[in-house]
Symmetry: C2
Subunit: 401 residues, 2 copies
Amino acid sequence: MNVAKSFKELSASQKINAQNKIVMPGLINMHCHAADSLFRGLVEELSLEAWLQKVWVAEKAILTPETTYTGSVLGFAENLLAGVTSIMDMFWYPTEAVKAANDLGMRISTGGIFFDYPGIGNRSHEDFLQEAEKFFEDYNSNEAVFPAVMPHGSYTVSPEHLKEAKKIAAKYNGLYHIHAAETLTEQSDINERYGESVIRHLHSHGLLDQQAILAHCVHLDDTEIQLIADNESVVVHNPMSNLKLGSGIAPIDKMFEAGVTLTLGTDGAISGNDLDMWLTMRLAASLPKGNTLDPKVMNAKTVLHMATLNGAKALGKEDKLGSLEVGKIADFIFIDMDKIHAVPVFDPITHLVYSACKSDISDVFVGGKQVVKGGVICTLDINNVVEEVRALSPKIAASLV
Amino acid sequence: MNVAKSFKELSASQKINAQNKIVMPGLINMHCHAADSLFRGLVEELSLEAWLQKVWVAEKAILTPETTYTGSVLGFAENLLAGVTSIMDMFWYPTEAVKAANDLGMRISTGGIFFDYPGIGNRSHEDFLQEAEKFFEDYNSNEAVFPAVMPHGSYTVSPEHLKEAKKIAAKYNGLYHIHAAETLTEQSDINERYGESVIRHLHSHGLLDQQAILAHCVHLDDTEIQLIADNESVVVHNPMSNLKLGSGIAPIDKMFEAGVTLTLGTDGAISGNDLDMWLTMRLAASLPKGNTLDPKVMNAKTVLHMATLNGAKALGKEDKLGSLEVGKIADFIFIDMDKIHAVPVFDPITHLVYSACKSDISDVFVGGKQVVKGGVICTLDINNVVEEVRALSPKIAASLV
């Protein structure tokens, strides 16, 4: 195809100068709890289990549908400014997250949560079931929402409830997002309760398939890796959160070798302290090298695919998202190449993974519509939200005293 | 002391608005090869040893005193924009590095290199000796230069030459900077040649003392850690470079427990791809947590000290640098707290280590003189240097073809 000629034949209502910028597909953040940005830095330097006990106390004291909306805008705005155009978010009031993403102009995958302990809003399992089903009814035909069910984990949701959640997802052909094998403590807890490891447990109950999206997978044996690969389930790697909580270093090099579909996530800012997919890419490429003493594992191109095309595949939208191709949706971003850490550049792929950073993103487009221009969000006034969060901060700080 | 009253009694010729900014001491980057920024991204995804063979070919083809100056400005400017006010740099033409740092308005520790193989400039050991001595003569009374000798490593410099370098340093009470125990290959090479490990080898030859500054120390046994601690030598941790080259993860938590003086470095941009002390701090605090499964090791305050006060101590300037105190030199920086990843903040220390990033640095002062204002270098026109590097890029790319 003569590209130059075909470009000449096109007309455009808007022309954008992208001189000295890399144009690439928007990033896909496959694991986040955006509204937890309200609690950024509140609970520090604890293991997942001790940390969760405090997180839940703070969440209980602060979260309403209104504050969840505010926190979601805060978290999604940080993602959007860093070039994330689609995000998978697990949180207590998913319709508030949808509203926040919609107001910012991002795509979101979320849906009804499941949690067997007293969670936020004191909802029963019956309430969660109804809300999960209603979510699919409300959003199943929305172009910017990819509905899912979101059982928290196999250590917080019984096998029966995990299966009921799956039933709803299956009815609507929806995604199934769950925390899995994040810590050694979780693995021994599940082993003790059910006599098998986390991934085997999920598999025993028929929960591993193409629509299962497993966040973390830090502690796996070879059989578990093979189970995930054989069932074509998706793993979301969250290296910053896993390091910070002392959860460990996920064996993504082994999973990659086994053919697992690997994607990337930031987790929430309450564990990793920011929501930076560029840092996530860099760690995904660098950590396995340091951990295995092999600088050739997880090369830059593989990791760039994790943050783009593999996310699209995980969302079931490989035909629409994740790369810049004729016929796909125009979700794309500009990377500023005038920063001093972009001098010189010999290979744009390794530049993007090893040198670029979140503050290099100048412009973001979702579905062809500009949502970030020159590093500023166009769709809403983020300063109002920042002021709301600052006003709420003393109450948040007091929630753990 | 009534601080408000004492402030009122002071007068100032310049008043600076630091509203909504953190003011803190400038960072001290204790291991860099700034001019290697010319080769950023040129040699990717190889182990240290295979990588060095290519690096040396590219350096040989490109480096002159003039290009070394240009590359040094490029590398130091990236450091300065990220809030680094003092830097230890090891490179082939140290007087060019001094000139570059001086033109930008930074403090530098550098000095004569030692290297037993055909290096850049085809200098003999006698040449290196003369240059090292001359460097002390020229800079020993310069306020912004902390002279050192810089033998490359125990695998590239013979014990006799290592000791001759030490003799010069000792004569002038100067620092002794060397790569040490970076890879397993280096450890087995030294073991094979000399029958003992790298740190024992340095100790056997009387090279471990308070002025020995050891870059890397990734592979150490407990005895080596104790040797470093007992001799009060300094370790520079370069986590990004160590990950990227597949060198490994340094046991800084064990070194900290043993009482070793730990500092931080970026290494050169040819291994780590950028020169970011904020990423370095974040990794120094997070990697050991993930590696040991203990979220309490290497807390934020400890790591902030590594990047400031411990650097000052390593340079022998604890009385002048590394903290903001009456009587110390005014090397300080402003951190912008209006970025979205700075909302909310409950603790400034954990914010600085886990959330802040290089693009948050708005202003930098060295010795009370403003050198970066609103994210722009005031001391020289960096755009000229950027254009020079871009013009040189095709020749750099061709150097390895």
